[in-house]
Amino acid sequence: MKKSNTLKRLTEKFPNSIIETHSFRSDDTAVVKKNDIMEIFTFLRDDPDLLYNFMMDLTAVDYMGDESRFEVVYHLYSLKFNTRIRIKAKVAESECSIDSITSLWASANWFEREVYDLYGIHFNGHPDLRRILMYEDFKGHPLRKDYPIRKRQPLIGPIN
């Protein structure tokens, strides 16, 4: 399949950071090394031919049992060129952290708090990394695959 312009530019610019790319049904995706995401995102946002200036979504996936357990997924959109790209960064359980992109997009703040709350992935340099959906007393991270499905820890009232 023909490589899209964005993916071509990206692999030329960061040959050592890109682990894999694919473009299934023109859905551009790049799997990158987590230590280089700041340079990659700055490039994608500011390059005059790309201008991915809108951070649409930030989430994570738990691939329990895989070598690097988590994957943080970013969805970017270029308001100027009407193009989208998905960036995935693998995060191992042993060093469960990744750089925060709040300095590039302020809107990433609450998304990163959500991922931290539900998956327990730390975002280095986040200005206010607290739980956002669950309460402070909550133990664990409920969207991890090893969170017991029947585990209940109500804030008040009986366990039911």
Binding site: L133, Y135, P142, K151, R152, L155, I156, G157, P158, N160
Partner: protein
């Protein structure tokens, strides 16, 4: 004779020339004998002031219930009060998460007695299909509930049926049933 003269004549006759009548018929049908308790219950059941604790999609059904087609006003439960101090029927309309549970208990405790609680929709009744880490498995684990209305969401007819059942319950209440006190669950901070 003018109309004013006619009225004056009738009034004069009524005051100065009263017709003799059986004293037992003096008050006619204007008196009904009953118990104060049942009169108060009767007044309460037809003047419910709602507090809609609406958290989820069931609130749409609640809106249709208040609209002209189903018109809860016909049963005397028309006015939603958006402060618990002025409400006596707490409608818990929708899913309650554990994070929200202390707020619900606080709202319940702020309501003045007598007060009643309706669990509106299956999420409020039992947690519904949200059998997960985030959801309270039925609000009766937190506060006392008078009427349970299942459904996802319940039809307005079901809510009206539930309201009528609540009215029947209120009609049977005794003075000694109140006050019931604060919710059994103690909210942290």
């Amino acid at each position: 004779m003018g109309i004013i003269d006619k009225i004056q004549t009738i009034t004069r006759q009524a005051i100065h020339e009263p017709k003799e009548e059986d004293p037992s018929k003096l008050l006619g049908d204007s008196i009904i004998l009953t118990q104060l308790e049942s009169v108060v219950d009767w007044a309460r059941k037809y003047s419910l002031f709602l507090y809609p604790f609406a958290t989820a999609c069931c609130a749409m059904e609640f809106m249709s219930l208040g609209g002209p087609k189903y018109d809860l006003d016909r049963f005397g439960a028309a006015l939603p009060r958006f402060t618990p101090r002025q409400a006596d029927l707490l409608l818990v309309v929708g899913t309650i998460s554990h994070k929200q549970a202390p707020i619900l208990v606080k709202i319940y405790n702020q309501m003045t007695e007598p007060k009643w609680v309706m669990a509106f929709g299956i999420c409020a009744v039992s947690g519904g299909f949200y059998d997960n880490y985030a959801t309270v498995q039925g609000i009766d684990t937190l506060i006392p509930v008078d009427v349970y209305i299942p459904g996802c969401p319940p039809r307005p007819e079901m809510v009206i049926d539930g309201l009528i059942k609540l009215q029947e319950k209120i009609a049977k209440e005794k003075w000694t049933d109140w006050p019931k006190g604060a919710a059994p669950v103690v909210a942290k901070s």
